[in-house]
């Protein structure tokens, strides 16, 4: 019988990403409930130094080291992972609903002929011991609860920032096991020939803690400077509504909404955004929403926890100064 909860440890720029520890924290609770072991699986090149922190969460850490794993490619990662999953047959496999996790998990699930729930926002174990994955559909206009009744492992990708991250257990020392990657060059069908760093923010919208977004009310690309200044003070990422993106004021990657990114920051500040249903769907599960808009009837105020009815060009610079004062006090 399939046993064990496995978490894919995602590495970005030499570090294990926060989502991995969020998954391990959730995995620990579920492993205790099921009486199964919690396993982290780490793939990369020169990643041995990252196993220690994972072992403070997991009962076991499998890690594979191979030059072919230094850069993510679907084939290399899927090959190593499916081999490990076939050999050990865990009951559950979790990864982040990140660009890497969302590329990798459907490939692996299909190769293992099992079920996958993507972009989940909550996980639990039901009375039959099945993983129940809660996830938004219609960009958050509704939610579904999904189970994978018979195929194994039950797979899910989970959004960053939605699960609680527990502190590491310093006394815990999970077993660290190196495994052979067994990658054959002929099996690698895609080659990354270049990686181009964006000029934009260092934190992507999907994992940003704070997002400042601008819409049609920004009136032009040059005016996003006022949002950038506020973002710099709050260490936030700047987003945009579809109206702003379609007007060519911001990059496509900045768009928040049903045909852009669905985001879940702790704080979302919407500036000059009226709140089209597609936009509200994309940011409606943010923890706290602030709306700044001249139009008191703008639908965005229906979703907002706090609203200021005023000209954003007058409010935002003052807010920037006030936040600066507040943050310099401590």
């Amino acid at each position: 019988m399939a046993k064990g909860i496995w978490v894919f440890a995602e590495v970005k720029e030499g570090n294990v990403r926060k989502i991995t520890f969020e998954l391990l924290s959730q995995g620990k609770k579920m492993a205790e409930k099921l009486g199964e072991e919690l396993v982290a699986v780490l793939l990369g090149s020169g990643v041995e130094g990252l196993t220690g922190r994972l072992a403070e969460y997991a009962d076991k850490v499998y890690w594979a080291d191979d030059p072919a794993l230094s850069q993510y490619t679907t084939d290399a990662y899927a090959t190593v992972l499916t081999n490990l999953l076939k050999e050990h047959q865990p009951s559950i496999f979790l990864c982040g609903a990140t660009i890497m996790g969302k590329d990798l998990s459907p490939r692996v699930a299909t190769r293992l002929q099992t079920g996958l729930s993507t972009d989940c926002t909550a996980l639990s174990i039901n009375e039959s011991g099945l993983l129940v994955a809660k996830r938004p559909v219609y960009a958050g206009k509704a939610y579904i609860e999904v189970v994978c009744p018979t195929a194994r492992p039950q797979m899910a990708s989970v959004r960053p920032n939605v699960l609680e991250m527990l502190p590491a257990d310093g006394a815990k020392k999970g077993e660290v096991v190196k495994v052979d990657a067994k990658i054959e060059a002929a099996g690698l069908r895609t080659a990354v020939v270049e990686v181009v760093k964006g000029a934009g923010a260092k934190v992507d919208l999907t994992e940003a803690n704070i997002i400042i977004s601008g819409g049609r009310g920004m009136k032009g690309p040059e005016n996003f400077k006022v949002l950038e200044e506020l973002a710099a003070v709050l260490n936030a990422t700047v987003g945009a509504s579809r109206a702003a993106v379609d007007s060519g004021w911001r990059e496509h990657g900045d768009q928040v909404g049903q045909t852009g990114k669905v985001v879940t920051p702790n704080l979302y500040i919407a500036c000059g955004i009226s709140g089209a249903i597609q936009h509200l769907a994309g940011m409606g599960s943010s923890k706290v929403i602030v709306a700044i808009n001249k139009d008191p009837d703008a639908p965005i105020f229906q979703k907002a926890d706090y609203g200021i009815v005023a000209d954003l060009f007058k409010v935002v610079p003052v807010l920037t100064e006030e936040f600066k004062k507040l943050l310099s006090e401590n």
Binding site: K12, T74, K102, D103, P106, R107, A109, T110, Q113, L116, S117, T118, V132, K134, R135, P136, V137, Y138, A139, K141, A142, I144, E145, V146, V147, C148, T190, V193, E194, V195, V196, G198, A201, K202, V203, D204, T206, E251, H252, T259, N266, L267, I277, Q278, G284, K287, V288, I289, V290, F301, K303, D305, Y306, G307, I308, A310, K314, L319, E322, L326
Partner: protein, 263 residues
């Protein structure tokens, strides 16, 4: 260069979604259906490839009779012909079962490239593209924003969005790519296009014609099961922070620090 485009018909993104009282699904009355916006990028890209390299743009979808409307729209944009997987047995499919049926139908077609949307904006699962690639034994690249086919039509160079930047990837064809906003601007169907589309082929394929056992398609072939539909978590009513600009800003900063505790 034959390009197969996988399409899905979905509720217009303007749609308000209502859940049935028993949580078994959504209320579909009065919903206006459109081509999934990400599939439109795939259709457009197939037409640009056809215009440059020749060959056919072939649409495929799985869905009820209604889905023919979306195929006709794609044909009106300029695709050459279409395939419609339509059988009650296909209903209730998850990503795996959908990919399984599509793969079976695509195996019977000549193709050099398969394009999908990055996800359908109804179930938002984002699985069918990679799953289809796996079932057909092909490589895939997700979230592409640029596509160049080599002169010999044997290779593609694509750009894909990653967190904080982009990757440039080379891959031999055939392959499966999932399309993302930024790849192109989909054209509108022209009036002559709409007229021509009426005469273009919509080939219906039912379970018998597809040739898969009934337990491998639809709900029977699905690996996952939806227990129930739920409304989104409700939000408490918000407050308007009033006062002159400075006063309101100061109040808001205080509320975010002391009440919401997010700063």
């Amino acid at each position: 260069m034959n390009v197969i485009v996988c399409m899905k018909q979905v509720p217009d993104t303007e749609t308000l979604i209502k859940i049935k009282p028993d949580g078994s699904g959504i209320v579909t009355d009065d919903i206006k259906y459109v081509i999934n916006p990400y599939c439109e990028f795939a259709v457009e890209e197939s037409l640009r490839i056809k215009e440059k390299h020749g060959g056919q743009s072939i649409l495929i979808t799985m869905g009820s009779q209604k889905a023919v409307e979306s195929l006709r729209t794609g044909l009106a944009m300029g695709s050459d012909r279409s395939i419609h997987l339509n059988d009650p047995a296909f209903e209730g499919a998850d990503g795996f079962a959908t990919a399984k049926a599509l793969a079976e139908a695509i195996k019977k077609e000549p193709y050099d490239l398969i394009l999908c949307g990055k996800q359908a904006v109804d179930d938002d699962m984002a699985q069918v593209g990679p799953a289809l690639a796996e079932l057909l034994g092909l490589p895939h690249v997700t979230l592409i924003t640029k596509l160049e086919i080599s002169a010999d039509k044997k290779k593609a160079k694509v750009e894909r969005e990653i967190e904080g930047g982009k990757e440039v990837i080379e891959v031999n064809l055939p392959a499966v790519f999932t399309c993302q906003k930024g790849l192109n601007e989909p054209r509108y169907a022209s009036l002559p296009g709409i007229m021509k589309a009426k005469k273009k082929e919509v080939k219906a394929i039912n379970l018998a014609a597809l040739g898969l056992p009934a337990d491998q398609v639809g709900a029977a072939g699905a690996k996952t099961k939806i227990n129930k539909y739920l409304p989104p978590p409700s939000r408490p009513p918000g407050k308007i922070v009033s006062g002159e600009i400075l006063e309101a800003a100061q109040k808001l900063v205080k509320l975010l620090r002391e009440e919401a505790k997010v700063i």
